[in-house]
Amino acid sequence: MAESKGQQATLARLASVIERAAGDLSLAEEPARFIAALEDEADPEGAG
């Protein structure tokens, strides 16, 4: 499973995205908030 140059580049780019974008996540931000976001932000008139 040797990494190709393309894979190395992809891995480096993805890691840098995380480093940049996740730096200011608050302590309370956890994965389960994704489901909560969908439920909370659904159409208030209850279309769905």
């Binding site: 499973m1 990494e3 190709s4 140059k5 393309g6 894979q7 992809t10 891995l11 780019r13 993805l14 890691a15 995205v17 995380i18 974008a21 996740a22 996540l25 931000e29 956890e30 994965p31 389960a32 908030r33 994704f34 489901i35 909560a36 976001a37 969908l38 439920e39 909370d40 932000e41 659904a42 159409d43 209850g46 279309a47 769905g48």
Partner: protein
């Protein structure tokens, strides 16, 4: 057979104009005649389908109707577990995936009266947007021989477009329902995450996987969604939210509907014919009474990267045994994508999951504060030649794959309902398509918009030329 829709066939069966056996026989004969070339099916279960159809006709004769799909022949992507039929998931292994229970979505369709024709071709392990499969044969686009069908639900797109089945189930982790829908000129809906149970379906990336209907018309998609949507105790992520009456809103029109067009990302680098068709579709929506505005959306590129991290890690975990024990059985590009997941750190995976939550809430609040729907292209260009996009080194192919799914993947991360439907044909006769996206659980709005557009534009009436 090619003129039936699910809705019209269902009505005809109920009125006694055609039987379930007749409808099923016609689908099977068409599949036998065309599928040697189209490669839509991995397993065609003629005996099982006819047996089901006979039972349904007997029930109808006794005045018992199972539901809105009574006698309608459907087929399912070969990652849905159905007892008695193998589930290859597009791999070399005929019975790669099994589950204690039948796929919930299939079970619900059968309970509503659907006949199971068989299991449909797909990209190996649902990893790839073009529809190629070295083990089961590349699915063929009925609109253009040699052109990609879109994937990974390639057989679902082909079977419906070619009239081999009246509807199909697909799965969508980065665009795998919408890409084949767009390439094959049919309607395909990725519902909200949690709207349709994933139980009994091979997981690729449980955080991004969605199951959804694919059919010729918006009405048929709405009909199927109404049957399969809803809470399922077998899938902990399925929502408790009640299911809307999707059919009820289809004829209500879209006067006053607020539609946004993204001015960033989605139209950048887009093929000119594709852009023209999507913008014409927007003008049609405007003529139908929608208020169309241009907006800037939060950068979808970050969500694409976040999605990729999550999907690579989860798919590597799910299929680790296959990769480690029988790597030679996996196609090189598929294997490369799986192996990437072994090299992403747990830290980055968890940060990606945390980021996804924030990005989702931000996107919904910023985009849907003042609009009801977002319209965007599905694919960056008409279906490319399969031989061209699958040629070259693994890294080159992987890069092309990423480009081809860059317009669909953000909505997997966001979990929002996204509905692909045809909006014309290129000069070369290849399908052009757009997607309508709405708030979470607002499938009713994307279906209503799609229905109004479809009636006005009429692209769903066009059929590929097949012998």
């Amino acid at each position: 057979m090619t003129d039936w829709t699910i809705a019209s066939l269902s009505a005809a069966i109920r009125e006694g104009k055609v039987s379930a056996v007749e409808a099923t026989t016609q689908c099977l004969e068409r599949a036998r005649r065309l599928d040697g070339r189209l490669r839509a099916f991995i397993t065609l279960d003629a005996e099982g389908a006819l047996s089901e159809a006979r039972a349904l006709d007997a029930e109808a004769a006794a005045g018992r109707w199972r539901g809105p799909l009574h006698g309608v022949p459907l087929a399912y992507k070969d990652l849905c577990h159905i007892r008695g039929l193998p589930t290859s998931c597009g791999t070399k292994t005929a019975e790669y995936f099994s589950s204690e229970r039948d796929c919930t979505a299939v079970r619900r369709l059968r309970r509503a009266g659907a006949v199971t024709l068989g299991k449909l071709n797909m990209t190996e392990l649902a990893l790839g947007p073009f529809g190629d499969n070295a083990h089961h044969g590349h699915a063929q686009n009925p609109w253009g021989p040699g052109h990609a069908t879109g994937g990974s639900s390639s057989g679902s797109g082909v079977a419906v477009a070619a009239g081999l089945a009246l509807g199909a189930l697909g799965s969508d982790t980065g665009g795998s329902i919408r890409l084949p829908a767009a390439c094959c000129a049919i309607a395909g809906l990725k519902p909200t995450y949690g709207r349709v149970s994933r139980a009994g379906v091979m997981p690729l990336s449980w955080s991004n996987d969605h199951i959804g209907p694919m059919a010729r018309t918006v009405r048929d998609v709405a009909l199927m969604l109404g049957v399969i949507a809803g809470r399922d105790p077998l899938d902990a992520t399925s929502s408790h939210r009640p299911v809307a009456e999707y059919m009820a809103g289809l004829d209500q029109g879209i006067a006053g509907l607020r539609v946004a067009v993204p001015e960033n990302f989605f139209f950048q680098g887009l093929d000119a014919e594709m852009e023209g068709a999507v913008r014409r579709a927007l003008r049609v929506l405007e003529e139908l009474g929608a208020r169309v505005v241009e907006i800037r959306v939060p950068d979808p590129e970050i969500m694409n990267d976040v999605c990729n991290i999550i999907a690579r890690c989860e798919s590597a975990a799910v299929h680790a045994r296959l990769v480690r024990e029988r790597p030679e059985e996996i196609q090189p590009v598929v294997r490369a994508r799986l192996e990437l997941g072994f090299r992403i750190s747990a830290h980055d995976y968890l940060q990606a999951l945390r980021l996804r939550s924030r990005l989702t809430r931000t996107f919904i609040r910023e985009v849907f504060a003042d609009v009801d729907a977002l319209v965007a292209p599905v694919i960056p260009e008409p279906a490319p030649l399969l031989a061209h996009v699958t040629a070259g080194a693994v890294d080159e192919i992987a890069e092309r794959q990423g480009r081809f799914s860059r317009l669909t993947r953000p909505f997997n991360g966001l979990g929002l309902p996204a509905f692909a439907l045809p909006c014309g044909f290129s000069r070369a006769g290849l399908p052009l398509a757009f997607q309508v996206v709405a708030r979470p659980f607002d499938e009713a709005t994307v279906l209503r918009a799609g229905s109004a557009y479809e009636r006005a534009a009429g692209w769903h009436e066009r059929r590929p030329e097949l012998p």
